[in-house]
Structures are given as structure tokens and as C-alpha cells.
Symmetry: C2
Subunit: 290 residues, 2 copies
């Protein structure tokens, strides 16, 4: 069952992340507490899971994925802390718990995010293989102005305006897609592949599951239960944010998610049985309830 | 004259930094504008200058320093944007200009800082030599919870409390010292040195000039002119921040700065004539008026 595999990989990711913030490493307790609070809150670890499963499909040793996958989750964690700040999305609740600035303070939340980003790159710098610097390049681009941070800027600037579907997709491709793409491409880099067909297929797979993930998030915002999603029901729908259900209706959004998953599966089907788990993962993304 | 050399290196650093943010690289104009505004405001470029001069002392090609030095300045620039935020030091003026969140918005300032940090690591990832990943390790540690971010957390937590000199030094060693140390150690790494005597001497030099720089900053807060320093006169002295002049009096602070500079020069005197420029740099640090 894909869900059992996902749970096993979540545990593996949690254990790696927890080790990165051991107290004997540190002097500043509140800041480290805040970083740990953010990092160890019950996240889905979807990005590390994508990396592990892609590694499996490409016959890459999962031990080589531990630190790279953790570095992506660290970037994701920092982005959540900063996105939740009053000057950004101003959210009080995340994963069912008070957001970092609510639990600690705004200044601590800003610094915790900053230090989590540094820790992401420090984690990659621990890797002894030559490909480490290529991972730094991939992750820094995915995080920066042409990736996640740029996407968040578009999202904030667009609040209140009506996005069409193309603009909405372009925003998501940067805001969440860039990091999901890095999660897929890390094992490609680590496996020292040099095959443009495989490269493009993985990029396409990543693009489609990234968008499907976002469409499903928007659907869960309408249909999900707060105690499962950890977010107040309908908070995006009620805000002036553009979401897929708002743009095209709930049924069309569901169809769009399914089409994207089909497209992602087509992209990698040439991998044969090696693609099985990635296909199951893609299908899981639109079945999940949190 | 050291000042002519410093001006030449400032120009060199500005030119490298400017090239990193060319408009054809980018899609999100306001975010990139904000990054450029922060990065190209009239900074002293003291960290790149330290790297270039240390490279010169160690017979390292200055061309190898361009990107590493720029990466350190990018981290410094991001830290200024975030430190100025209302939830942090709440400053309206920086280098004689409105701070980033005043010129743009708080959300843009948070994202600009985040993207500048990513760009720092992306810049290191452009380097083709094997030592690039060691630079990533040095810079990520200097930026993180055991470096700059940790120091800023101590500084914020201590506001209103009385620091003794040891606590004040420990805070500065993290908050500004870690990045100045990286500026000195980058050329050591790039030169592929492996000499514990040299390593320790450079660390000691960096520690002393880093602290001297901070003491001089505190002195300029009392004695400097706003139109030269770009900061309101006495703003730290009047706040509840602990500063060297407040802790030990202005004359003792001046003596402390001079002692630190002497100590820094002693640490590297064994380099003979190769140390000349670094010694001049150390003496310049406590003569500067901005």
C-alpha cells in the first residue's frame, strides 16, 4: 500500500530532520526551540517523500537522499514561517498549531525562517560527493526570485485581483512547483544521470504533480475538515485569494486535478515497472484528505 | 594609500553585485527592484574588501574572490533588510535612504531578504572549483543559528537588559564577527591552504577586526554625523541597546578599539610584508568616519 510506504518515509524524514537540530549543537535556546517547533510540527513531508520515491524509481540508494531531502524540507519549513507572518498571509494556525510568530514572536519567527534557510544549505554542504554543489545550485534557484520567493511575491501582489488560469498556474509553478521540481530532480542529479529524455520526463512529472497538489489543496480548503487539514475550513475561499474552485467551480477543479495526475503518469510511463510507485504517489496526491 | 585601494575594491565589488541582478534574469519586477535597491545602496563593502585584501596577502588570484566575496555581501545585505523590519530593530533610515520596508512594503522586504539569501548560495554554486562546497559550508554556518542569526537573536533578547562586556562581545562575535570571519577564511579555503598556524592567525585577526569594527560603529553612533554615517546620531545610545561607549565610556571604548587593532596586527605579523595591507586595513577600521 502506498500509504504505508509514505508513512515509513515520513518517519525516516522526521528522524533525519530531528537530528539536524540536536540541542548540543546550539547556544540560542529560544531561536532553536522555534526552529524545532516549526520543523517538527506534523508536516506531510511530501517533498522528501517525492525525493525518496523518485530515487527508488531511478535505482538511487535512499541513504544518499536523506540530507538532500531534508534540505528541501528545511526550505519549505522556512517558507511556511515567513508566509504566515502578519505582513504576509497573517495566519494564526498551521498544521493545527499556533503559527511560529503566535507561539514565539514576530522577530523570532523571522530569524527562525532565516536560520532554517541557512541550515538547508549547511545540510547540503555536509555531503561528501561532487554532486553536492549541483544540489546547492538547484535548491538555491528553486528557493529564490525565479522560484519560491518570486511565486510568493506574485501571490501577494495578486491578492484582490482576478487571476486567470494561466496566471494562477504560473504563480503556483514558482511558489510550490519549483521546490517540488527540485525534489524530483535531486535524485536525477545524485544518480549522475545525463539523459535529456529522462530529464524532461521528470520535469514534466514534477510540474504536473506540483500543480495537482495545489489544486487538491484548494479543494481541501473547501471540502476538508479543520481537524484533519489543520487549517480553518474555507479560509482561502473566503479571502480574496484566487483558488481553482473559485476560478472554475469545484467539479472542474476536481477534473483538472485528475487530468494533471494522468498527465504526470503519462510522462514517466516509459520507465515501466520502475514508475509504479511514482504513479501511485501521483494518484495519492488527489486522494489525500490533508 | 589604503583608502584608494579600498575605493578600487568597492568599485570592483559593486560591479560584480550589480551583474548578479541583471533585469534579463528576472520576471518579478518589484521584488527584484527591492533586492537591487538593498544591494546597490551605498554600502561600505567592508566584507568583500576584507576578502580581497586577505587574498592578496595569501597570494590568491583576486578573480577567484569575486563571487565568494559577493556571496558574503548578499548575506550581509539580506540581514540588514530583515534587521530593519518593524518587528526587529524598526529602523526607517539605512545608509541615508529609506529602509526597504519603508520604500516598498514589509512583505516585499521579507521576501527580498529571503531571496538575497538564496542568491548568495546560488552565487557560490556558480563556482567551478572543488572548494565551492567548502565555501557553502563556511557561509551557511556563519549565517545561521550559530552565527549571524543567532547573534541577532541574542541582541533582540537582550534589549533593555544590561550586558557585561563578555556578553556584548559574544553577541558581536556571532552577529557581525561570523561573517567577517568568513570573509577572511574564504581566501584561506580558496588558496587550498592547510596550515593550522595560518588558520588560527587568520581566525584571530578576523575576530579582532570584527570586534574593533563594532566598537568603532558604536563610537560613530555617538560622534559621527548623520550625513556621513547615514544613521540618526545617537540612535543606539538613546535606545536601550548596550553599546561599548555606554558600557565603558567613550574614551575606554576608543582604547578598546585600538587594543583590538593592535591584537589583530600581532596575530598576522609573522606573514611579514604580506601582512602590510591587512595591517593598514585594521588601522583604517578605527579611523573611518562612516
Amino acid at each position: 500500500m502506498i500509504i504505508d510506504l509514505i508513512k515509513k518515509l515520513q518517519k525516516r524524514s522526521n528522524s533525519i530532520l530531528s537530528d539536524l537540530l540536536l540541542p548540543n549543537n546550539v547556544g540560542q535556546f529560544e531561536l532553536v526551540d522555534a526552529m524545532r517547533y516549526v520543523l517538527m510540527s506534523p508536516g506531510k513531508r511530501i517533498r522528501p517523500i517525492i525525493s525518496y520515491l523518485t530515487a527508488d524509481a531511478l535505482d538511487v540508494d535512499l541513504n544518499e537522499i536523506d540530507y538532500p531531502a531534508a534540505s528541501i524540507e528545511l526550505i519549505h519549513a522556512y517558507s511556511l514561517v515567513h508566509d504566515d507572518l502578519p505582513a504576509m498571509d497573517d495566519d494564526d494556525l498551521r498544521r493545527g498549531l499556533p503559527t511560529c510568530h503566535k507561539k514565539y514572536s514576530e522577530s523570532t519567527a523571522i530569524l527562525a525562517g532565516d536560520a532554517l534557510q541557512s541550515l538547508a544549505f549547511e545540510t547540503l554542504s555536509q555531503i561528501k560527493d561532487d554532486y553536492a554543489i549541483t544540489l546547492v545550485k538547484e535548491l538555491s534557484r528553486a528557493s529564490g526570485v525565479m522560484g519560491m520567493a518570486g511565486g510568493q511575491a506574485i501571490d501577494l501582489a495578486a491578492s484582490g485581483e482576478n487571476f486567470d488560469e494561466v496566471s494562477l498556474e504560473n504563480m503556483h509553478i514558482l511558489k510550490t512547483g519549483a521546490l517540488i521540481s527540485a525534489s524530483v530532480m535531486f535524485p536525477y542529479i545524485i544518480g549522475k544521470n545525463n539523459d535529456s529524455h529522462l530529464f524532461n520526463a521528470l520535469k514534466q512529472y514534477a510540474r504536473c504533480i506540483g500543480l495537482a497538489f495545489q489544486v487538491q489543496d484548494d479543494i481541501l480548503d473547501v471540502e476538508g475538515e479543520t481537524e484533519i487539514t489543520g487549517k480553518p475550513k474555507g479560509s482561502d475561499y473566503k479571502s480574496d485569494k484566487t483558488t481553482y474552485p473559485k476560478l472554475m467551480g469545484l467539479q472542474n477543479a476536481k477534473k483538472r486535478a485528475k487530468d494533471l495526475v494522468d498527465e504526470s503518469c503519462d510522462a514517466i510511463s516509459f520507465l515501466g515497472s520502475n514508475a509504479d510507485t511514482l504513479i501511485k504517489l501521483a494518484r495519492y496526491i488527489i486522494k489525500r484528505n490533508n
